[in-house]
């Protein structure tokens, strides 16, 4: 059996790629996809620990993360569509109306 550390390392690498995508990219859709990647990385860690300790609780957590991700994507994409109607752009650099 593969040690749980390997899965945790993979989870960390995927999470860091997602974080880099959120920080570097300016396209709101790609930023959302990067957030999905980060949630997915957390799921890998949950399932790996679930396997390691022989409990199913980790897999239940993945179920809830999946639900939250679905809700988040639906609301987020609706917001992107609403913003695109007004600004005709999904570049997050141009959404600076709240700048104080």
């Amino acid at each position: 059996m593969i040690p749980v550390n390997y899965y945790l390392a993979l989870s960390a690498v995927l999470f860091c790629i997602g974080a880099l995508g959120v920080l570097v990219r300016r396209n709101a859709l790609v930023i959302f996809m990067s957030i999905e990647l980060m949630l997915n990385a957390a799921n890998v860690a949950f399932v790996a620990f679930s396997r390691q300790f022989g409990h199913l609780d980790g897999q239940i957590m993945v179920l809830f993360v999946l639900t939250v991700a679905a809700a988040e994507v639906a609301v987020g994409l609706a917001m992107i569509v609403a913003i695109f109607r007004v600004r005709a752009s999904i570049n997050v650099d141009e959404l600076n109306q709240l700048r104080g």
């Binding site: 880099l20 920080l23 790609v30 890998v44 239940i60 650099d93």
Partner: protein, 180 residues
């Protein structure tokens, strides 16, 4: 014989990391979405290896299926694949982001290297990860959170309808004036 699981894991992890990087670096949003589908599928196979068949199927249907279809639908709706590459307003921010993410990765690696792996508990392979066992746990111990997710999905649905229904109201006005 003992090398086979490691080779499987190495191949899956390499594809997952490569598709994640390709998703992040691709300039075309549609390619990004398709690379993310590859990533989700590979992670679903990892879940299968880890003894979570139900979660793996859920990953395929919900993530790689429903959520990514929604993504691609919105990309096509907005013409996101044809958007020109925007000029960077904060040039220093990109390099700073790379440095900070590498620092985060180093920190995570340090933490994982410090802690010894806890002893593996081998569960009953017949019961572990089966939909029946998962459902039993979901409807007893996690009944309240499960009910709460239905509320969350309802609120999200109402939110989406409210956010996107603006156009509909505007379109109805001239028709009413035409009638009078």
């Amino acid at each position: 014989m003992t090398a086979a699981p490691f080779i499987t894991f190495a191949v899956l992890a390499a594809v997952a990391v490569a598709s994640g990087l390709a998703m992040m670096l691709s300039q075309n949003s549609v390619y990004s979405a398709l690379f993310l589908v590859i990533n989700f599928t590979v992670v679903a196979v990892l879940f299968l290896v880890l003894g979570a068949p139900f979660i793996a199927m859920l990953q395929i249907t919900v993530y790689a299926g429903a959520i990514m279809v929604l993504f691609i639908f919105v990309i096509m709706l907005l013409g996101g694949e044809r958007l020109p590459a925007p000029q960077q307003r904060l040039r220093w921010q990109q390099s700073l982001a790379v440095v900070l993410v590498l620092a985060l990765l180093a920190l995570a690696g340090y933490v994982f290297a410090q802690g010894a792996a806890p002893a593996a508990v081998l569960a009953d392979p017949q019961q572990y990860g089966s939909p029946a066992a998962l459902g039993m746990l979901l409807f007893t111990k996690y009944l309240f959170p499960f009910e709460f997710t239905s509320l969350l999905l309802l609120v999200a649905m109402i939110g989406v309808v409210v956010l996107t229904a603006v156009e509909e109201r505007r379109r109805r006005l001239p028709r009413a004036s035409r009638r009078t």
